[in-house]
């Protein structure tokens, strides 16, 4: 009688401990789902590994020669000569003069300010933390001869340590940013001129 009870108790407590331990969820797996075929269709989902595709992933590069919607060609090559040429490139969107510089402010804050600074003085957070050095401000003293065409060129192709931002911004967004950069350039130049005059 006593023997049997002891056995039962040990069995029951080991079962309970087993249940508790197995409740610990593993963070590395997504876990189970009900009715899996409702959740996961046979179609390949975004970023899913896929053995059928040549690069074993569902995120493929577009077919060569693909032109995305709203694409505006830009022919000036990514070379030093190309950069010089871009300075005299005056092809701007038809509504360029009508763009309010403030429209580009938010985009500037998202895509430029962590390097070039909120004021366009080349003193963004990455410069302050000395992660990236030598970032130019937009003032006339630092970049004397930039034009809307050359700013567009730099956004498209990058320059020196700046990479191309063409994949992150659409045509309209680039020009909105350029408009805001030109405004910051004026602010910077006025500030510098003021400082020079004040001495």
């Amino acid at each position: 009688m006593i023997k049997l009870n002891t056995f039962k108790i040990i069995l029951a407590s080991s079962f309970l401990i087993g249940v508790m331990v197995s409740c610990n969820s593993d963070k590395k797996t997504p876990g189970y789902t009900y009715m899996d075929d409702m959740y996961r269709s046979p179609a390949i989902k975004t970023y899913e590994p896929s053995a059928d595709n040549p690069r074993q992933t569902s995120s493929l590069t577009p077919v060569e020669g693909t032109i995305s919607r709203g694409y505006i060609p830009y022919d000036i090559p990514n070379t030093n000569a190309g950069y010089e040429d871009s300075k005299s490139n005056t092809s701007v969107p038809v509504n360029f003069s009508a763009i309010d510089p403030q429209e580009g402010k938010e985009l500037y804050g998202q895509f430029c300010s962590h390097c070039h600074g909120d004021k366009g003085d080349g003193n963004g957070i990455l410069m302050q933390r000395e992660k990236i050095l030598g970032i130019p401000g937009y003032g006339r003293d630092r970049l004397p001869d930039i034009t809307p065409g050359s700013i567009y060129h730099v956004i498209m192709h990058g320059k020196n340590n700046m990479g191309s931002h063409s994949s992150q911004l659409s045509y309209e967004e680039r020009w909105k940013i350029i408009k805001y950069v030109l405004k910051l350039r004026e602010d910077q130049s006025v500030m510098v001129a003021g400082a020079t005059a004040a001495k």
Binding site: I2, R129, E130, I132, G163, Q168, V192
Partner: protein, 433 residues
């Protein structure tokens, strides 16, 4: 700000230069006075804001390494070159032409705004710093208390506790024997207790109710949690830290996840976006807690993975031609079932919802995990509580009948707060179709 200070400095030192020049002329003594204007700290600041994008001290970047450049070139030549190198090249200087050719015709920016003293300060800085970066004063490394030690302590305490219990039991049995009773083992005591409890009907009834209710409660929540992947935190192929990028360096979420503004998906950035910063930042500068270079002056192994994926030749600073790029196999964390439609652009751009509302404190996560449940109840709850942003112009436009949408909504809902629910945010077909 920098340029501002630079100009003030220039004015100040120009007047000082004149005075000193007159002193030098009268005394016609040593060439020391130059050092009076030359300020290594100023040189450092100027170097970092003007030169460092293309030059490092100890290693070739876009231009040559600048440590010890004053030994290679005369000061006069350097002054002319830095101020306007194109002019110097045009004047037919052989050295200038040679260096221009050596660096594949990369055009160095002209710096007409820098004064002689500014340039001399920069040169003094390049001289002052040794080519090999010496780590900052090394504090004595304190061994961090390892968590294994804590566990060991618990085991030791456990052993002591067990010994203590055994000791107490032996004392009790000894006392019992002195009293003339039979000694008993723990198991015997335990059996006696359980037999008494099993015989007690009230206890058994109460115990059955408690156990049943508890079991059903647990079972309910266990079944509810199936298909909810909250806290899912897989190990990614590159140890990318959102804490470093979005938190410490404050890079905007939209910078990398560009498509969140315009499309259904908030895309994972392709490696060319990584390269926008990591062309320059290669991890050599990262310091560990002791202030020493974390990777002993080598590139970070994680950043090297980006280079391997996109085919970047870090030595020559160029992309390798005809490189077979290998996509990084990021593991997707947030998965909605196929039976539901969700659109990022609608929430980010139209709704103006912060990323953190759904994704949690991303800027504090070293390894990202799923913060929200992403269940239908969770969606619905937010749609019930969130007020629609009506200040974007669309709602102010006059529509049918000459009244703006804002006015019509106000009339319909008697000036109550307009939540997403009220403009149809709970309709089934909005998300399920």
């Amino acid at each position: 700000m920098n340029s501002c200070r630079m100009y003030m400095r220039k004015g100040f030192s120009n007047s000082l230069l004149l005075r000193l020049l007159s002193i030098v002329l009268t005394i016609s003594a040593l060439s020391i006075p130059a050092s009076a204007e030359v300020d290594v700290d100023l040189g450092k600041k100027l170097f970092k804001s003007n030169c460092a994008s293309c030059h490092k001290l100890d290693k070739k970047l876009i231009g040559p390494a600048l440590s010890g450049v004053t030994q290679r070139r005369s000061e006069e030549w350097l002054l002319r070159w830095i101020r306007n190198n194109a002019e110097l090249r045009a004047s037919g200087d052989a050295d200038a032409k040679a260096i221009f050719e050596e660096y594949n015709g990369s055009i160095m920016t002209a710096f007409p705004a820098l004064s002689d003293d500014d340039i001399k300060s920069i040169l003094a800085y390049t001289d002052a710093v040794p080519a090999v970066a010496i780590p900052k004063d090394v504090p004595t490394v304190q061994p961090v208390a390892e968590p294994a030690n804590d566990l060991f302590l618990i085991y030791v305490l456990g052993v002591f506790l067990a010994l203590f219990i055994i000791l107490l039991l032996r004392i009790r049995n000894t006392l019992k024997q002195i009293n003339g009773d039979d000694s008993s083992t723990v198991i015997q005591d335990f059996n006696a207790l359980t037999q008494w409890l099993v015989g007690n009907k009230r206890f058994m009834t109460a115990a059955t109710i408690i156990v049943t209710v508890g079991f059903i409660h647990q079972l309910f929540w266990f079944l509810m949690a199936i298909g909810v992947e909250v806290n899912y935190q897989p190990i990614q192929p590159i140890a990318f830290s959102h804490k470093i990028h979005a938190g410490e360096n404050q890079v905007d979420c939209n910078y990398c996840h560009t498509s969140a503004r315009q499309s259904k998906h908030s895309g994972i950035p392709s490696t060319n976006v990584c390269m926008n910063c990591h062309m320059y930042i290669d991890g050599t500068e990262i310091l560990n807690d002791a202030g020493l270079p974390k990777y002993a002056g080598e590139r970070s192994p994680e950043i090297t993975k980006i280079y391997a994926a996109i085919g970047w030749d870090a030595e020559n600073r160029s992309y390798i031609e005809n490189y077979e790029q290998k996509p990084v196999r990021w593991i997707r964390i947030h998965n909605l079932p196929d039976l539901v439609y969700f659109n990022h652009a609608q929430h980010v751009t139209a709704g103006g919802v912060e990323c953190q509302t759904c994704h949690g404190p991303i800027q504090e996560m070293d390894v990202v995990y799923q913060y929200s449940e992403l269940t239908m109840g969770w969606c619905i709850n937010c749609h019930r509580e969130t007020e629609v942003k009506t200040d974007n112009g669309y709602y102010a436009e006059a529509a049918d009948g000459g009244k703006s949408i804002n006015e019509r909504l106000a009339a319909k809902f008697h000036d109550e707060i307009i939540t997403v629910e009220k403009i149809g945010g709970l309709e089934c077909g909005k998300c399920h179709y």
